[in-house]
Each structure stands twice: as structure tokens, then as C-alpha cells.
Amino acid sequence: MLYWQCPRDPSLYLYEQSRNCDGPQIQAATDEGKQVQRGGFALAGLRELMKEDTRQTDKRPGAQPQTLPQTLFAKIWDGHKVAQTTAGADLIAIDRVFLHERTGASALRNMAATGRKVRDPGRVFAVTDHIVDTRPGRTDKTLMTGGQSFITDTRAACEEAGIRLFDVHDKMQGITHVISPELGIILPGLTLVAPDSHTCTQGAFGALTWGIGSSEAEHAMVTGTLRLERPKTMRVTFTGTLAPGVTAKDMALHLISEHSTGGGAGHAVEFAGEAVSALDMEARMTLCNMAIEFGAFGGFIAPDLKTFAYLGGRRYAPREWSSPYWRTLKSDEDAVFDREITIDASQIAPMVSWGTSPEQAIAVNAKVPAGPERAHNYIGLEEGVQLAGTPIDVAFIGSCTNSRISDLRRAAAIVEGRKISPHIRKALVVPGSMDVKRHAEREGLDKIFEAAGFEWRMSGCSLCFYAGGEGFPENSRTISSTNRNFEGRQGPRIKTHIASPETVAASAIAGAIADPRDFAPKGGKT
């Protein structure tokens, strides 16, 4: 296993990430600390970033001279404020727009019909992820009736507008929020929007990223801006250390279950604290991914060395991090937030949803609490029953929440040397991108999953949601590494329990909702 090594403090090893195959490698080290690779990445720039200096060096119009301590949110927002609208909203510059095939063609076609053009096509990207087939040997044809036209229309519209499309057969195709970081499209300090609610995922890189509708996507492409009311600020601090077997997914579900799906409404949420700093970039994406389920305008984490090391050498990332600008991207020590929440990370257990909203989630070893009658009826679990041990029919590992290489490794560690329960009617692993897929195959993870009884798929959003094509067996109960357990989300009458990939893997083996801590890895590969 390779780890990234901090150039200033050799004792600091950073968890290895899914590397972009076509990018140069930065300095890396083995477990023993021996340098093994060195590439075209400017280490001097990285060293500069280590210096403690948050002085305001942003010279752009709109950037405020720093007199009072500022939040990271305020620095990025004010740095992107172009003007005020006549009604007093802010006109905020948008650095990146990312479209997908489900709504991309619609937005581009509508724009063309009104005689408008994309202002800067070089900063707009598109991908086929939402309804693309994930079975091996796929084509433009989708299992959803009529889905093909969404793909072909998007392709034609992107070509016409001069927009880069990561198409069905592109080797970097994958879920928007997986490939955008893989390609270095998201960068610290940027504003990025996409017509997908889980765009908040990319806030993990210290950027303001949020989901929008099609009209807003058009507005951002045509004007390079969005008209926005400034959200309030919130900091969610996770203190302490996560217990073994507990993940970023559990942190997110814990937060939402404690503070409700409306808890973050109207707020831009910064995640902070030692338990957040300790997360690798992929886990940070998982945490930020669920910010929308918390009702937040966006979720983000101040960039640190892990962030810059992850992005170094990626296709669209800068070749060096030498600008002092990057150093300003953190909340100042005395910055005041409109709201603060503190959570002791050491008290979090593996979480599983019991109901039909992400806030209806409990520790895997807890009993189902009293909730809305409608939720109990839909999910078929009464108050007071033990959640663990509930038989399941389907296991799904995938989605923009949990489909990256580290997710697959952790799930595979549980699955290796075991078989899924004969009760399971369908078990799927859908890698978040083709790059993740190749990476996993090089490590033999596909073989581990297949030997256990999982299907191994091409990348895409797949059955995170039901689009009318492929579905789960009728009335089935699923355990899923996804983000939403809404009524009908994965199909009519399908009962969804959301959890970490580890918990999904353990439950697939058990044939019932299970505590991943009861499944010690059998194989040697982690």
C-alpha cells in the first residue's frame, strides 16, 4: 500500500487515495517511509502551504480587506461576489458547472431555444451517470424506456455547445461527484454547481458546492453567476476519535438523526474538529455528501495537506500550489458562526436508518423508536423491535456517498473469505467511476466480491434511485450504502435501509441487518 508522505513532517503519512491513472504521481512512500515515486508535482508549493499564514491576500474585486476574523465560507463567498442585484441579493461568480444526462440536454436545449449561449464552455463539464446502464458491455441503450434519448440528446447538445462530456465509454466516466475530484475539476476555494442535490459532496475540497435546478444551471452557464441570498453559517465540530468500525457515513447519519433533516436549513455548514481532520479525502466526501440530507445549503471542510496532495497531478488541477491564496482558505481562529454544533465522535456507533427519512436512523444495535405512523407502516417495523437481525433481500454498494476505492476496500475486507447469505436475492457492487473500477480490479477486489456472490458492475448512479428500468425484486428490503431511504426511492414498495459499506457488507453475509464490528476481516488484504 502506498501512502502520501508529508514533505515537512516525514512521520505524517496520508492515506492513499484513488489516483488518477493519467496524472503524474507526487511524492509517495511505502509503509516503511521509503520514498518510491516522485513526479511532476511542485513540492515547494506544498511546503509553502504548510506555513501558518491566513492573511488575506485575495486581491480580486469584492474581496474584503481582512479586519475581523472571517469564516472560510465568508472568504469564498465575498471573493466571488460580483455585484448586488437590484433587490439586494448577491450576484455570485460560478467557477464550474457540471451537467449530467438526466437534465443536461434539457438545460442546454432550453438555452439554445431562447437564443442564449454558454459564456465559458471550458468551465462546464458533463457526464453520463444517472440513467446509464451499469451492466458490462453497456451501450447507449438504457434499461429505462426512452432513456437512450437522454444520453444521445446530451451528447449532441454538449458537442454543439463545446462542453467536455465524459461519455458512456470514456475511461474517466463515473458519478459526477466521484470523477470531478478524480479529474481535479473541483479545487479549493472554487464555487461549483450542478443540477444534482449531492453536489455538496465536493465541498470536501474546501470549496462552495451545491445542487441547483435546471433553470439555475442555465443561469450559471449563460451569465457565469447565480443570484443568491447569502446563507447563514454553521460549524459542526466533531471532537475526539471515531471508534473502530465507525465511518464518515455514521457521522453523517448521527448528525442528521440528532438534529433532523431540517437542522442545516438556510446554513452553509463547515465540518471541523479532530475527527474530521483525521478523515481521508474520500471519507470527507462521504460526510459532505449528506449535508443536503441535513437540509444545508452546502457542506465543506477547510483544505489541508491531504486535500492538496489528493489533487496534485490531477488532469485539470494546477501544476503547483505556490499562490499564497490557498493559505487563506480556512476559518480564522476567532471567526464567529451563526450556529455551532459539537458532537463527540467517540460516542458514535455504526448507524442504520430504520424509517423513510435519513433522520430516522439509529445505532445498529438499538431498538426502533416511535416515529411517524406512515414511516412504520411503509418500512414494516414496529416501535421497540431490534433493528439488527431484520432479514434483508438486497444489498447495494455504490452511489456518490460510498462507491470510492476506500469504500470498496473496507467492504471487501469484510466480504473476503465469506459468502452472502442464501436469502439475498440481489447483491450489487457499483464502483463510483471507471477509474475506481480499474483500481479495484488491480487489487482483486472484484474477485472477492464476485466470489462472495455480489455482481460487479460498470460505474454509474445505478439503483441508488429507481428510474423505471432495472429494479430490485418486488417488495424487497434493501440495505444500501446510498443516501436516501425515501418511500419508493429505490422502487415502488422497496424498503431501504441506508448504512456504511461495511454495514452493507456485513448484512449481506448475515442475510439480515448486522453490526460490522462482529465481522472481523478473514483475508489478509485490506
Binding site: 433587490a87 436545449r109 441547483i212 436549513a265 429507481y466 425515501f486
Partner: protein, 201 residues
């Protein structure tokens, strides 16, 4: 976009469940074309139809009652329109004829999508929303009031959304009036953060 009626008077259809997500308002399988029309039929399909395939109606669903088949106002619970960012949810509601939604709270992306499509989202205390369901309600956007049964309640709305709705403004046209400011900002930014700017495909 047509300006919001001044005033809007209609009977509010009570739909008080919490966390009604956009998948429920318009399931993905009901989005069959890349266009923005023809979506009203799929609106609330899981609740509205006893059989979503044959479209046999569920007689218990509120919008299937004679009084609400042409409803223009919905009275909803907390976090209405949460979930997927699909604007199709608002396009479907607007095509059906919904002009205002009064609720305890809304999903943030959905709320923005409403304003862009001439649908007025109004946030009021749950007790008031529960009380007005099933009654004739008068919405005065200019005065920012909701009135029913002789009572009147003020609601808050940011001035940007109010202006857009009241005059039926096109947001893109409006922003393009500030094109000079956008160009100036972009030029300065290109010098300050050159890495942001990429070559065209």
C-alpha cells in the same frame, strides 16, 4: 413567466405530511422526455394513482377530490420538496396549476426552483398551515399576507424572490443587465486565479 396573481384566491388543498421529497412529487420513472412539459400527469404518481401503470385513481388522495382537481394552493408540512434537485417537480406542479405552496418549511433547492417558475413558496407556522387547509385562502404577495376565515398572517420573503415573482421576471435577462460588472470581475479574477480558467473542449 407570468406575474403572480395579485391577489390569488383559492381553496388550499391540505397535504400535511412531512419530508415530501421530489421523488414523490415526480418519480424519476415519470420523467420520460428531455422537455419540460407533459409532467403534470406523473405528479404525485405514487399517491395519486392506485395503480401507476393503468392510472386508476386512488380516491383517498386529496388532489383526486372534486374540490381540489384544479387546486392552485397546497398546504404542506415540514421540509416539503426535499431530496433530488429535479426541477421537474416544480414544472409538474406548475403545469397542474399550483401557484403557491404554503408550508412549515421547504427543501432549499426546491424553494429556489419554485421562484424561478412563478410558484410562490410561503413559510408559516405549522398551526396556521394546518388551520388554513381546506379553506378559501387569499394570498397578497405585495402586502405579504395570507388571509382566511377573517384572520390574516404576515409572511416573510426575500426581496429578490418577491420582485421576480411579482413581475414575472426572467432571472437571466435581469442578470445580463449587469454584464459589465460580470466582465470586469472575470477579467480581474483571471489575473488573480489563472488556474480557474480552462481551455475549451
Amino acid at each position: 413567466m407570468t406575474p403572480f396573481p395579485q391577489p390569488l384566491i383559492a381553496k388550499a388543498a391540505p397535504l400535511m405530511a412531512d419530508n415530501v421529497d421530489t421523488d414523490l412529487i415526480i418519480p424519476s420513472r415519470e420523467i420520460k422526455t428531455t422537455g419540460r412539459t407533459g409532467l403534470a400527469e406523473g405528479m404525485f404518481a405514487p399517491w395519486r394513482y392506485a395503480d401507476p401503470i393503468t392510472r386508476a385513481e386512488n380516491p383517498d388522495f386529496i388532489l383526486n377530490h372534486a374540490d381540489y382537481r384544479q387546486a392552485q394552493i397546497l398546504a404542506v408540512g415540514a421540509n416539503f420538496g426535499c431530496g433530488s434537485s429535479r426541477e421537474h417537480a416544480v414544472w409538474a406542479l406548475a403545469e397542474f396549476g399550483i401557484k403557491a405552496i404554503i408550508g412549515e418549511s421547504f427543501g432549499s433547492i426546491f424553494r429556489g426552483n419554485c421562484v424561478r417558475n412563478g410558484v410562490l413558496p410561503i413559510t408559516l407556522d405549522r398551526a396556521i398551515v394546518e388551520a388554513l387547509g381546506g379553506h378559501d385562502v387569499t394570498i397578497d404577495l405585495a402586502a405579504q399576507t395570507v388571509s382566511f376565515k377573517g384572520q390574516s398572517h404576515a409572511f416573510a420573503i426575500d426581496s429578490e424572490a418577491k420582485e421576480m415573482l411579482a413581475h414575472g421576471l426572467d432571472a437571466i435577462d435581469l442578470s445580463l443587465t449587469q454584464a459589465d460588472a460580470i466582465d470586469a470581475w472575470t477579467d480581474a479574477d483571471r489575473a488573480a486565479r489563472p488556474w480557474v480558467y480552462l481551455e475549451q473542449a
